[in-house]
């Protein structure tokens, strides 16, 4: 049953070739670099250095491009399939209006998103965000709301000049005849140092999807139960 589902998944099939290509790139780059450095000569050193773009391709899946490298425009950095995508949702026993109102007050978000240190509403749909990045580095960015339909959807993007390029949307919908609310998050971001950065971030902490899933669980706990449960003094 599960196998059938996987083989029908087009994304899964299309990535397998790219995966092989990446591993081959990485393996060749490693071999070239090992050979180059082991020569302990200038040409050998040059050969090793020349293999770095191949290693980059192995890790990130794309050749390094310096023209839009580090572009902080969400339309450049996140267009098409670029960036890291996270999709998570949860269902709450609260009316949709209440859930939407709570989320729309962006300064509430750090109450249930544990990696956020603070959000300041700057007015005029703009806000300033501070978060804990990998290895406890502080990351800051400004964002603006680009789509807002009351009780339905909230979309945002980071503004140029930010340390992180991110965009996303939260959809709110009524379920069970209006007794419950479904909250669906689609988050997209280009981490500093791109995919390699995301890989490193996953190594040093929890992956973004499980982080968002836990945050949504905290939202549900806060709005349904009025508090986030804990067994010890600190929230982990």
């Amino acid at each position: 049953m599960e196998e059938t589902m996987y083989s029908l998944d087009p994304q899964h099939e299309s990535t397998s070739y790219a995966e092989v290509e990446r591993w081959v790139s990485l393996a060749s780059a490693t071999a070239l670099m090992a050979y180059g450095f082991s020569r302990r000569t200038l040409p050998g050193f040059c050969l090793a250095v020349a293999a770095t773009p191949l290693a980059f391709r192995g890790v990130s899946g794309t050749w390094p491009r310096f023209n839009d490298w580090g572009s902080d425009d969400t339309r450049v950095a996140l267009s098409g399939s670029r960036g890291i995508h996270v999709r998570e949702s949860i269902r709450l026993e609260r009316p949709v209006a209440e859930v939407y109102r709570f989320w729309r007050n962006l300064e509430n978000l750090p109450r249930f998103m544990t990696h956020l240190e603070g959000v300041t509403d700057l007015g005029n749909r703009r806000s300033h965000w501070e978060a804990k990045g990998p290895a406890h580095m502080k990351v800051e960015w400004d964002a603006e709301i680009i789509n807002e339909v009351e009780d339905k959807v909230l979309g945002w993007r980071s503004l140029p000049g930010s340390e992180i390029v991110t965009a996303g949307a939260v959809n709110f919908s009524t379920v069970r005849g209006g007794r419950s609310t479904q909250v669906s998050v689609h988050l997209q971001y280009e981490p500093p140092a791109r995919r390699a950065g995301a890989l490193v971030a996953t190594l040093f902490g929890r992956n973004p999807a499980s982080m968002i899933r836990e945050d949504l669980r905290h939202l549900k706990q806060l709005l349904e139960a009025g508090e986030i449960p804990r067994a010890t003094g600190s929230l982990t």
């Binding site: 349904e224 139960a225 986030i228 067994a231 982990t236």
Partner: protein, 181 residues
């Protein structure tokens, strides 16, 4: 306070630990007057329950007297005598509204662990591994009871709670059975 702590397979010790404190608004602190060892404590004692950690306080069948309540707990008062259920329930999620307390969506802070192992999580539990919340249990002098405005059952003042149990088992049998002995 004194508490029963798990240290490993067939290694359980009575030790001094810090007294519990109110951590959340709906909490209560209960001074334990009677506690039990359950058959399922033997699963822990035998080393069969994953995500137990050294120093975890055991016990999930206990009763006692309320000695402190959180600011949002409007159901219990200091001095109330209560029996505390094993399962911790928020009282407001879908399952709690259906009175399926043991399936509470909100009382297990480590639900992701149980989901990884079983696919779904159940409610938080007292003294029964970190997968079910890592809540310190009731084989102790005091217990912090989360969502204490939902689970604990108040014992009417007239009920004699601390009478010594009959030592002769035949005393608990119905009269015809006693005569047969």
């Amino acid at each position: 306070m004194k508490a029963v702590r798990f240290y490993g397979t067939e290694d359980v010790r009575v030790e001094h630990v810090p007294d519990p404190e109110i951590l959340n608004p709906r909490d209560a602190i209960v001074k334990v007057t009677t506690t039990a060892i359950c058959g399922s404590d033997l699963h822990i004692y035998g080393g069969y329950i994953p995500t137990m950690e050294k120093g975890d306080v055991l016990g999930h069948e206990f009763m006692g007297e309320v000695v402190e309540v959180g600011r949002d707990n409007h159901r219990l008062q200091v001095g109330d005598r209560v029996v505390v259920p094993f399962t911790i329930a928020c009282g407001r999620c879908y399952f709690c509204k259906e009175q399926l307390w043991s399936l509470c969506d909100n009382s297990n802070p480590n639900a992701w662990m149980a989901e990884k192992l079983y696919g779904y999580s159940a409610s938080g539990l007292f003294g029964y591994s970190h997968m079910y919340g890592g809540y310190p249990g009731g084989q102790a002098e005091f217990v912090r009871v989360p969502f204490a405005d939902v689970g604990p059952l108040k014992v009417p003042a007239a009920t004699l709670v601390n009478a010594p149990p009959p030592t002769d088992l035949s005393m608990r049998m119905p009269a015809p059975a006693r005569r047969a002995m």
